[in-house]
């Protein structure tokens, strides 16, 4: 069966099916979602979409296609996901991806396992089969209960599509593709429960995406269905279960990937003449290095968040040896510990971050400092004025101003520039002993590199000393709490949220700065105590038409 061709031929049936699903009776969950005025809407990120499909249909159902790029707002994709829509071309992409998935679900390799039935004696038109299919997968995909009437509507439309296409399974594929193209799947709707706070399924999604970066599993859905998540004890039981799972690592990886902007390493390129050791493979490994290091310290060893800035332990890969100029015995990943006194210590000296916030051919204390101020200290640095001249800074062959520090100092003669550079540059200059791809160096064009500076009123001599200051700085740990809260809720805090955030921040030291405990506290507080999050603005909220197709 050439399902792809049939699906294309049956596009009108698919559209009809989508239309049919949208033309619903009163009181359906779908209508409740579309019309939920107080609920926040967050688009699934690409990784969440892929995880959802793997969880529901199995890892061998491939997700092929190009996704609309995720949108980072105020440093977090998690916040940006509340402020995105789907463009017309983006919807086409989602639809193509959905068709590809649906085609695989009903193909000969998966049909028996995932469909498991067909028209026959006692079910001549296959209505029972289709109904069971949607009853099995629909709630998992929509992350909520589906009323019998809603399943019946999907079933009717699917059977009609099958008749139009002349193929029962092609009809199922069309119905499934419509479901996967629906905003109910593509977006996370948070709905109010009876008490005005999140309903059970919204709570399930919130803790599942926070802790696993994945949709709720069957046990969590069951807990939502029976109301277990409505009680502090029931919610805590599920939170603890999720955190005890190996999949908690996925959740923490997703958080730090977003927090530290590590996805940007996927598209990072460098001047290969100046940095021949760097390539796309190395960039990917640098991202993985930071994530593995974070997981090792904060999840596996339940460590202190602040130690991220002073730990000498780092995940190391054979292919990263040339960047770090260390021998690597393992042929893939291993944990490496730099000796005391080594210039490499802590997150600030991870080559991935150093490379990410540099120019293609040189370092940038300003970019590095700005990124660290914004991500790790929650300090917003404004963009430079449009008419600023970078001529001196960019003159890397300047005969007298040989070091970046010297050129930046000259640049700061412009008082307008100096205002922001005074905030960003001291931190960035501390990292100047690492070049544009994060390789250690002690000189620049023959001149010794001065990596000293002042942070929060304390002098430091180099990146290692700065890392110690970060370790002990309350703003650093408080920023982590705020960012984790924003990540969990998908929005920037409103004035009414501040007391709760302040409480989390003041509790963080009592928790030993353990990130796992912080995530648990956030999972409980933002799930149990908060009402559904309001989107940033109505204009930025996804619009959903009556056909079920979101538009920009």
């Amino acid at each position: 069966m050439k399902l792809g061709v049939i699906l294309l031929a049956g596009a009108s049936a698919l559209a009809a099916a989508s239309m049919a699903f949208a033309v619903t009776g009163e009181g359906s969950a779908a209508d409740a979602a579309v019309g939920a005025p107080d609920g926040s809407v967050r688009r699934l990120t690409e990784s969440q979409y892929r995880r959802a499909i793997a969880d529901v249909f199995g890892p061998d159902v491939r997700v092929v296609g190009r996704f609309e790029p995720d949108n980072r707002v105020d440093g977090l994709i998690a916040v940006g996901s509340s402020m995105v829509s789907v463009t017309a071309s983006g919807f086409d992409q989602y639809e193509q991806i959905a068709r590809g998935i649906a085609e695989q679900v009903v193909d000969k390799d998966h049909r028996a396992e995932l469909v498991g039935c067909e028209p026959g004696a006692g079910d001549t038109d296959g209505r029972g089969c289709v109904s069971r299919f949607f009853a099995r997968f629909g709630p998992r995909l929509y992350r909520r209960a589906m009323a019998p009437a809603e399943i019946a509507r999907f079933t009717t439309a699917t059977l009609e599509a099958g008749r139009t296409l002349g193929d029962f399974h092609a009809g199922i594929a069309a119905g499934l593709a419509a479901m996967l193209s629906s905003p109910e799947f593509l977006f996370r709707f948070e709905r109010p429960g009876a008490d005005g706070k999140l309903d059970g399924y919204s709570r399930a999604s919130r803790i599942s995406f926070l802790l696993w970066n994945a949709p709720p599993d069957a046990r969590l859905m069951e807990a939502a269905a029976v109301g277990t998540l409505d009680t502090p004890a029931g919610l805590a039981t599920q939170v603890d279960r999720l955190m005890a799972s190996p999949r908690f690592e996925d959740g923490m990886r997703a958080f730090f990937n977003d927090f530290l902007l590590l996805d940007d390493l996927d598209s990072l390129s460098k001047d290969s003449v100046l940095f021949p050791q760097f390539n796309a493979n190395v960039a990917g490994l640098l991202k993985e290095q930071t994530l593995r290091t974070v997981v090792d310290l904060l999840v596996t060893n339940k460590g202190d968040y602040r130690d991220l800035f002073t730990t000498r332990r780092i995940a190391m890969h054979r292919a990263l040896g040339p960047i770090y100029t260390v021998p690597v015995a393992a042929r893939d990943w291993t944990m490496h510990e730099f000796p005391e006194g080594d210039p490499r210590t802590g997150l600030l000296t991870h080559a991935g971050l150093l490379a990410l916030h540099s120019h293609p051919g040189r370092t940038s204390p300003t970019l590095r400092g700005k990124a660290i101020q914004e991500a790790l200290l929650c300090v917003k640095i404004p963009a430079p004025p449009a008419n600023v001249s970078f001529a001196v800074v960019q003159d890397v062959n300047n005969a007298t101003l040989k070091t970046t520090r010297a050129r930046l100092k000259a640049h700061l003669d412009d008082e307008e520039c100096a205002t922001c550079h005074r905030i960003s540059d001291p931190i960035g200059l501390a990292l100047e002993q690492f070049d544009g791809v994060g390789q250690h160096r002690v000189t620049e064009r023959g001149e010794p590199i001065d990596a000293s500076g002042t942070f929060a009123g304390a002098d430091f001599t180099d990146a290692v000393a700065l890392g110690k200051l970060f370790h002990d700085n309350a703003d650093v740990s408080s920023c982590a709490v705020r960012t984790a809260w924003r990540y969990a809720t998908g929005r920037d805090p409103q004035p009414g949220d501040e007391p709760g955030i302040a409480r989390l921040q003041s509790d963080f030291p009592k928790l030993g700065y353990r990130m796992t405990d912080l995530m648990r506290a956030i999972a409980l507080s933002v799930t149990l105590n908060l009402a559904p999050s309001a989107p940033a603005s109505k204009q930025e909220q996804v619009a959903v038409t009556r056909t079920g197709v979101p538009v920009s």
């Binding site: 290969s272 003449v273 940095f275 021949p276 050791q277 760097f278 390539n279 593995r292 090792d296 000498r312 995940a315 054979r318 040896g321 040339p322 770090y324 100029t325 260390v326 021998p327 690597v328 015995a329 393992a330 042929r331 893939d332 990943w333 291993t334 944990m335 490496h336 510990e337 730099f338 000796p339 005391e340 006194g341 080594d342 210039p343 490499r344 100092k409 700061l412 100096a418 550079h421 005074r422 540059d425 001291p426 200059l429 002993q433 250690h440 002690v442 010794p448 590199i449 001065d450 990596a451 000293s452 500076g453 002042t454 002098d459 001599t461 180099d462």
Partner: protein, 406 residues
Amino acid sequence: MNKLPRCGTAFRLLSTLPLIAALPVLIAADTPTGGAPGVRSFVLTNIFFSGPKEAGTCTQLADGGVESFYNSLPPAERAAFADPAKRRDLERLMIKRLGFKATKMPPGAENDTDAIKRAASAAGFPAGKGRAAFANKRISYDSCTDPLDFMQLAEGYRLYDGKIAEGANLDGKQKKGDFHSASGQPGIDNQVWKALGCTKAFRDVGERENAREVLMSAAAPTLIEVRGIDDPRNDPDVTVNVMAASDALARDGRGGPLQWSSFATDPDPALRTTTKGRIVDGVLTTDPVDMRLNYKEQIIDAPRDLRSARIRLTFNSDGSVDGRIDGYYTLASLYDSIEQMSQAGASASGISCPGVYKAIHALADGYPDRKTGRKTAISSALGFVGVPAFAVPPERIAAAGKGAGL
């Protein structure tokens, strides 16, 4: 802007040498940035017959086997093959007329002499002839497998006729036939350059600048590790390990060798040599020692056996190294690398296997056989270029593979 405190010389020294203070606590940690203190390792990206292009030498290059065959043809036939475009036809004629043979190696027969002989006989080889060739994929009988049977192809082979060569005075004597170094040092023993220095293929790669552009034996490069360095410019006592790597050389974004890569060392003790050395003004020299260097390139797998070999290595300011290994190259291992080139490789490279065979045996000047008195090795100077690397012993690789990793 903030007035950043400027640190003085003392700070810069500490910054430049951050690892010195760390030495006492290294036991509990892994290698620091830059590698273990006092240890520098290099992967050799090319090892080549080192010889200068002395002005006025080799005005006529040595004929390759094909050229020699061509010159042996009657004028009418030579005219028929004079066009360079006819070279493939000329090679086919040589194969046919000289009776070269080749057949596929039967599966599993690579190390079975009897099976090879049976297959050769079945393919119509002359009685008793037929040797494994072309990376054991073929059985061949030609001027490379059996040079003594085709000595007519040594006609037109020419020896290097210069007076200057790179190398060392290996025997401590000044003899007739010895070279001078470019700086005028007499008694340079480098008879292999005399044997090969007018053959274009060796002559071109013998130039250091050309050698830098080419990775040779990249699948199994050689590592030089210098340990016990207290002063990288002058140290009277260092230990030098010469080892084979089990890992291949990787290229960087410029197409050159990737620096600071980690290489597992080959566990074969025959491929590891340790000797003592000293560094004077940034130049390392070692005591003589026998060593075996891996040489794997395309279809060639012919380890170089060197006797009484000594290393002269210059540490360059960019972290790379240049140098030479001077010693006696055993004839058996030297010709093995030529033979493995196969007739096809020799013809493509313009090399006369019989010419090389004859020359190196005639000029052999070291390690006489106790029974026959024939020299079994030839003095040589193998140039090398290398980049910084890390040598990782096999036990550390094994430990990492047993759960030390993530």
